[in-house]
Amino acid sequence: MTERDARIEAVIPALRRFAWSLLRDPDAADDLVQDCLERALGRWHLRRADGDLKAWLFAILYNAHVSGRRREARRFRLLGEVAGMAEQATGPQAPDAAMQCADVLRHLDALPEEQRATLLLVGVEGLGYEEAARVLGVPVGTVMSRLSRGRERLRRLVEGGGEPAVPVPLRVVR
């Protein structure tokens, strides 16, 4: 195995975890990772030599996820028109049995996708704020505010055991 391949493979476990956290479906998650890796191999020459490989791969995966979701939404809409199965198609995915116990994951699902992805990238995958901003394609300030809102919301969910009736405003602590 080349050194380059070894460096890519070292990131695969984290990519799979991130993909799974976003999709909650092991097969769909691995499809997303495969899509990401194929794009990465095809675009290796476009990579900035000094850039961070991990952040670059996460960015490709996240972009594939976002564009795939648009395609999915369209597909489900079409299928819905054709066969009237939109509800089943867009319904919640059954989580892995092994992970089912983790309450925190259930609460995480209640978060808007952008907040969820930000929390995962920074809190679980250990990306820096700048890196997360690059992966998500937003300014660092947006990453900070998503983190703050997402964590606050998650805290209330965990404490309250349910979804708050109104969105939680950003709390300013001075």
Binding site: R71, E81, A98
Partner: protein, 284 residues
Amino acid sequence: MRDPRDQPPIGEDDLQAYVDERLDAARLARVRRYLEEQPEAAARVRAMVAQRDALRAALAPKASEPIPVRLRVAHLRAGLRRRRWRRLRGVAAAVLLVLLGAGAGWLARGGWGGTAVPAAPPMAEAAEAHRLFAQETRRAVLPAAADAGDLSDWLSDRLGAPVVVPDLLGAGYRPLDGHLLPSPQGTAAVVMYERIGGRTRLSFYVRPAPGTPADRLRCADHPGGYVTYYWFDGRFGYAVTAALPRDELRGIAHAAEREVREGPRPRAATRLASGQPVPRVCLG
């Protein structure tokens, strides 16, 4: 040099960075002092740290799973190589088509020069495209659902003008996939259909033909038992090809010509029976 006391006041970003352990020593000390004085904020931050740890713990097993074979880089690389090779083969086939088309044009001029036959080549390339893609048996698993309506969208997008891909479900054929091809007049495309419950392949071919006047449905036989019905509408040349008796193909070709001329029928007519494999647009 700044006095530590001149530091900006504690903000929400400091608290987040505290949770993520991304504060430098000076700022960390300042945030710690602040949290000592603000029990409510301290409780909030503690909860967020606990939450972060719970998330990491819940997701840790996923990252320690062994990597599936299909995600191994060597495996992916081999797959990419295969696909590149298939693409290359496609280009070679397209070059052959162009040559054949040119040959057919030359034959048409030499053979029937001066007769009433239109100057356009009789879409011989449609039969070649059919021959090429009808043999393709590999069907990757669907990334995108596609019926005739989707294929029309896709094709119109690729050809840069509205094109209707006929819905032939009424005739018992469903679309399988679509391929783009170069032609001397610009991008051409072939959409492959398969008989529902059978193996018979039928193709719909379209290429730009801005210089050819509109002309009614005509028929041509090609080697190998392929029959092509073709027509022109002043913008494009169209052809329907299959290894079917003329009589059988004529009805389908008429239906296709009518639909291309009049536009798609309402969506309900394109209903796919559930359980049917979903056709796929292949852009390779």
